[in-house]
């Protein structure tokens, strides 16, 4: 309590000093409207600084938090009441829609992750194929290759692919474009012509 009192006393003293200083700087040669503007400027400047200090004070911040908590509490209570009322009448409350929206978003993100994995796999396969073509090995089932060799070759490649897949981490952020889909851009009328 004493802190609050000293805080406000200090601020008011500062305010009064500034107003007195502004009054003492009054010049009788300046026309009254101009002098009035100067006095008003000094007054508003002092009040503005006072407001700034006050809004930074713990007292104001606590008061603001208290006000917000009360407002949020009232709003929440109202929402709960409305939800209960709608549920009682077999209706759909906004809470249900929000829950549905969250489910859809989770579904979307799971799909996105799965598609990223598939993209990684395709990327790996493409790289493997390019590598094989580059080495001149071609596809494994060439004429003259014994069945056992072929199987062991496939096994080796499958193992290598698996190892690579495990090591694979997308280096580049993947845009959501693939999942969200891009709407067909509107054509420029001038281009259409």
């Amino acid at each position: 309590m004493a802190d609050n009192a000293s805080f406000f006393t200090r601020m008011w003293m500062d305010f009064a000093t500034r107003m007195m200083t502004a009054g003492m700087s009054f010049n009788p040669f300046s026309p009254p409207p101009q002098a009035a503007r100067q006095a008003r400027g000094a007054y508003l400047g002092a009040v503005s600084d006072f407001a700034e200090q006050m809004m930074r004070s713990p007292q104001f911040l606590s008061l603001m938090k208290q006000g917000m908590d009360t407002s949020l509490g009232a709003r929440k209570q109202m929402d709960e009441y409305m939800t209960a009322m709608r549920h009682d009448t077999q209706g759909t409350a906004s809470e249900d829609i929000d829950a549905l929206m969250i489910d859809v978003r989770h579904l979307g993100s799971r799909m996105s992750e799965r598609m990223d994995e598939i993209e990684g796999l395709i990327h790996d396969l493409g790289r493997r194929l390019d590598g094989m073509e580059g080495n001149g090995r071609g596809v494994p089932h060439t004429n003259g290759t014994r069945a056992g060799d072929r199987d062991s070759l496939r096994t080796r490649e499958r193992d290598a692919l698996r190892a690579e897949r495990q090591a694979y981490r997308p280096q580049e952020p993947v845009a959501r474009k693939a999942v969200k889909g891009r709407k067909r851009p509107r054509k420029n009328p001038q281009e259409r012509e």
Binding site: P31, P32, E52, R75, I102, P173, A175, R186, N188
Partner: protein
């Protein structure tokens, strides 16, 4: 001596009398215009540069500004505005337009209008905006202009989003310009930083209760940053200059924009307050955006950081550290003595800052060598 003193006193008295008469006449003249203020407000034109919507996705609209002359640079310029308020402040009125500076200099200029989020958008996150919408827009613009990269200019919260995008997709950005962008939130110069402290503001409870952040809440917060200036000084200035038609037009356009607030998606607000205002993760290179972590050191392109010295929303101390956090070698800071909005539409910024910013970008953009592309 006495005569001289008497004459002086008489002169002063006459001057006082004259000034009072002048002031009274001026007051009548000003108040005489008051009944027409409403009509003038209805006539105020918003937007200086003709534009067309070239891309849409959900509520987002991408505007392309129609050039008055030939396009001179291959690299397109994309303006990224904040999710708070509407983006037409960047092209407010003739002589108060940031966009027109770049359009007139021959840049193929685009502006992202995020649109007004509905209740269904409350779950959109920063990831949706940065790696979703913004990424799609940049890709579309690159395809459209046949350019491998784009120049990005982000204003306020749009600057923060642009810096995240550039850090995650550096290969797609040629030059980055930030306008009053919040980067380092561990400063108490701005009142918002103080108000957002976890002990005073429970963002989780707020978003869980309200969903999207109401436009009125944001408007009140912004007004409270400078209550005397916003609620007392500005109306007084309007009354005093009501006979100046250009001033009144500017005032009405500006006030119209300031009161044209839109809600912010709840999850974006939650992430912004929690990760930036409360934990300051962007500066620590720990900012999560979806499955990625933003590391500002990944930014290597030329950077121009524009700041307003009297900005009460994003003080210079919030924007300035950006240049020391990126790996770019070509980086510059420009300051202007203006407020947060004055940085865009203020006379001084229009006269001095924006021509210099255009020069800076022009030097770092690839000129278009083939015949003028003016689709």
């Amino acid at each position: 001596m006495a005569d001289t003193g008497g004459a002086t006193t008489k002169n002063i008295f006459l001057e006082w009398q004259q000034s009072l008469l002048d002031e009274t006449a001026a007051s009548f003249r000003r108040w005489g215009r008051f009944p027409y203020l409403w009509q003038q407000a209805l006539k105020v034109q918003k937007g200086a540069t003709p534009s067309e919507v070239v891309y849409e996705e959900d509520r987002l609209k991408l505007r392309r500004y129609i050039p008055r002359g030939p396009i001179r640079y291959r690299t397109p310029l994309v303006f990224v505005f904040a999710l708070v308020n509407r983006p037409y402040i960047l092209d407010l009125r003739p002589g108060r337009s940031v966009v027109s500076h770049f359009v007139d200099r021959g840049f193929d200029t685009y502006l992202i209008d995020w649109g007004e989020p509905s209740r269904a958008d409350r779950h959109l996150t920063i990831d949706d905006y940065v790696n979703g919408y913004l990424s799609n827009v940049i890709d579309y613009v690159r395809e459209r202009t046949d350019s491998s990269q784009a120049n990005v200019l982000g204003y306020c919260m749009g600057g923060t989003l642009s810096s995240m995008f550039t850090a995650l997709h550096q290969e797609r950005v040629r030059n980055l310009i930030l306008m009053a962008a919040g980067i380092n939130f561990a400063t108490e110069d701005g009142l918002l930083n103080l108000w957002c402290e976890p002990r005073y503001f429970d963002v989780d409870r707020f978003v869980d209760t309200y969903g999207n952040v109401p436009a009125e809440f944001l408007q009140t917060m912004f007004l409270m940053l400078k209550p005397l200036q916003n609620l007392v000084e500005k109306p007084i200035t309007l009354v005093e200059r009501m006979d100046d038609e250009d001033f009144v037009d500017d005032y009405l356009a500006m006030e119209g924009w300031l009161n044209d607030n839109i809600p912010v998606p709840g999850e974006v607000f939650r992430e912004f307050v929690k990760y930036l205002y409360q934990k300051n993760l962007l500066v620590k290179n720990q900012m999560p955006v979806g499955r990625h972590i933003v590391d500002l050191r990944d930014i290597t392109c030329p950077v121009l950081n524009l700041m307003a010295k009297k900005d009460d929303l994003v003080p210079c101390s919030q924007s300035l550290p950006f240049n020391s956090l990126v790996s770019s070698k070509d980086k510059k800071v420009m300051e202007v003595s203006a407020g947060h909005i004055g940085l865009a539409v203020g006379s001084k910024a229009q006269r001095e800052l924006w021509p210099q910013a255009c020069d800076w970008l022009a030097k770092r953009s690839e000129p278009l060598r083939r015949r003028a592309r003016n689709k």
